[in-house]
């Protein structure tokens, strides 16, 4: 079996691990690690009968995810303290938001950088407060820095000098160059406060952001993890009000495609009018599941296509040409 589908099957139906051979276990964990889903997998299959060596991998992955969760929540707490005096809405995004709110995608999930959304009008204040509290620029390349500030939906990344953790400060969830412009004001206005004063997106916006993150903003790298988030969130929040909200943000097509992929890969239950499989869906499916027995990306051609595509979606064509030229002259190639 395609190792990515082996992983999907184990996540979807943990009991299927009963018939795995040693080589399957090796492929399963290699792909789970590559897709940043080892902790998630471990929580799904923990306690089921399995070889001792597999049980060890499960226990290790659970410990690792637990420490990552502690560190991520602490980073959000330190950001909260740094920004407390500003009286500004700080909305946690993605992994940290799921963990802070105890949502189902957070179980065992790896959490990368801290992502926060703040009002665009206050971004300079936020930047200054973070710099005062020990965050520093990650060695800005002058080109990248100008690019970020002019066109992206976030500040250039900052890293904390003592804790070695990155923070991405967003003022919207897609780059300003993208054709799709989600309503950032509404994202902030309708966000939900947590007990400590930090905020998270409301359920529909959280799903919209996850879909935007999966398709519109990115090259589908690590897509199985993002899709698992969507699968869990759809299970948790359902579909009520989702089409309207997604349409408002210009993400109607993205959320429907995400839901179809989640249903195909993880068996998400969809309402009748969400079901289907369009002409492009097979391509997305192949890309999402392109992993070999070692967890390495396969289907290089599909991959390059998606890399260019992700830029096309974000930028008008002449800007794209200039951007790629500058990048490639500096030796950057899609991995």
């Amino acid at each position: 079996m395609n190792p990515a589908l082996l992983l999907a099957r184990a996540l979807r139906d943990p009991a299927t691990i009963a018939d795995l051979a040693a080589s399957d276990w090796n492929a399963l964990f290699a792909v789970a690690r590559a897709e940043q889903l080892a902790g998630t997998l471990a929580h799904r299959i923990a306690g089921l009968p399995m070889p001792g060596a597999a049980a060890q991998l499960v226990a290790d992955a659970i410990t690792s995810a637990e420490q990552g969760r502690t560190a991520a929540l602490w980073e959000s707490e330190m950001a909260r303290r740094a920004l407390a005096a500003l009286d500004v809405s700080v909305v946690l995004l993605k992994g940290t938001a799921y963990a802070a709110a105890g949502l189902s995608p957070s179980v065992g999930r790896v959490i990368g950088d801290l992502d926060i959304l703040v009002p665009r009008a206050r971004i300079d204040d936020v930047e200054a407060a973070l710099l005062a509290a020990g965050w520093e620029w990650v060695k800005p390349d002058p080109y990248d820095d100008t690019y970020y500030r002019r066109w992206m939906h976030e500040l250039p990344p900052l890293i904390h000098r003592d804790r070695d953790k990155m923070i991405d400060v967003h003022h919207t969830i897609l780059p300003l160059t993208a054709r799709i412009r989600p309503d950032a004001t509404a994202l902030l206005a309708d966000s939900v406060a947590l007990e400590n004063g930090l905020r998270i997106l409301n359920p529909q916006d959280m799903l919209c952001h996850a879909a935007a993150h999966l398709f519109a903003d990115g090259d589908l790298a690590g897509g199985m993890r993002n899709l698992w988030d969507i699968h869990c969130l759809l299970g948790e929040f359902g579909f009520e009000g989702l089409p309207e909200r997604a349409a408002h943000h210009g993400l109607g097509a993205a959320i429907r495609r995400a839901a179809r992929q989640a249903a195909r890969i993880y068996g998400t239950e969809l309402p009748r009018d969400w079901q289907g499989w369009d002409a492009l869906d097979p391509l997305f499916h192949r890309r999402l599941t392109a992993r070999d027995q070692w967890g390495r990306s396969t289907r290089k051609a599909t991959q390059l296509g998606f890399y260019v595509r992700s830029h096309v979606l974000r930028m008008p064509p002449t800007m794209l040409a200039r951007h790629l030229w500058t990048k490639w002259r500096k030796g950057h190639r899609p991995a």
């Binding site: 520093e136 060695k139 070695d164």
Partner: protein
């Protein structure tokens, strides 16, 4: 011997100092390997250790007494990781001439665990054999 028994002594309060503003009272343990490539490139390597200020660096990177013939005065400054990386790949450290740069780069190559800059150097070098 008529020393008073301990319980008869007046309670002496323990001495305490708040300490100088310049001296840190807290050291927080950081990951020994930097987590992100970004932070790797952000770290710095002092040449030499603050404790060996005034020493010279021999062409092979050893720290030698001041004014040793053929050796170079320690620059007494830190180099940024990306400059060191460039120098390790045959470039020259900023503000130095090629011979001195090679000596300083050799000094960095010989850094040992526990010496200032080692963690930074190690993160540049990983994986190690």
């Amino acid at each position: 011997m008529d020393d008073p028994k301990p319980e008869e002594q007046p309670t002496r309060r323990r001495a305490l100092m708040l300490g100088a503003a310049s001296a840190a009272a807290i050291v927080s343990i950081r990951p020994a390997l930097a987590q992100t490539s970004a932070s790797v490139m952000h770290c710095e390597i002092p040449v030499t250790d603050p404790g060996r200020a005034g020493s010279y660096i021999a062409p092979d990177g050893r720290v030698v007494p001041a004014r040793t013939a053929g050796a170079f005065p320690a620059p007494g400054r830190s180099f940024k990781a990306q400059d060191v990386k460039r120098a390790l790949n045959g470039g020259t450290l900023p503000g130095t001439d090629p011979q001195a740069s090679r000596a300083y780069t050799n000094y960095i190559r010989r850094l040992q665990r526990g010496t200032s800059g080692f963690t930074c150097f190690a993160s540049l070098q990983m994986p190690r054999g």
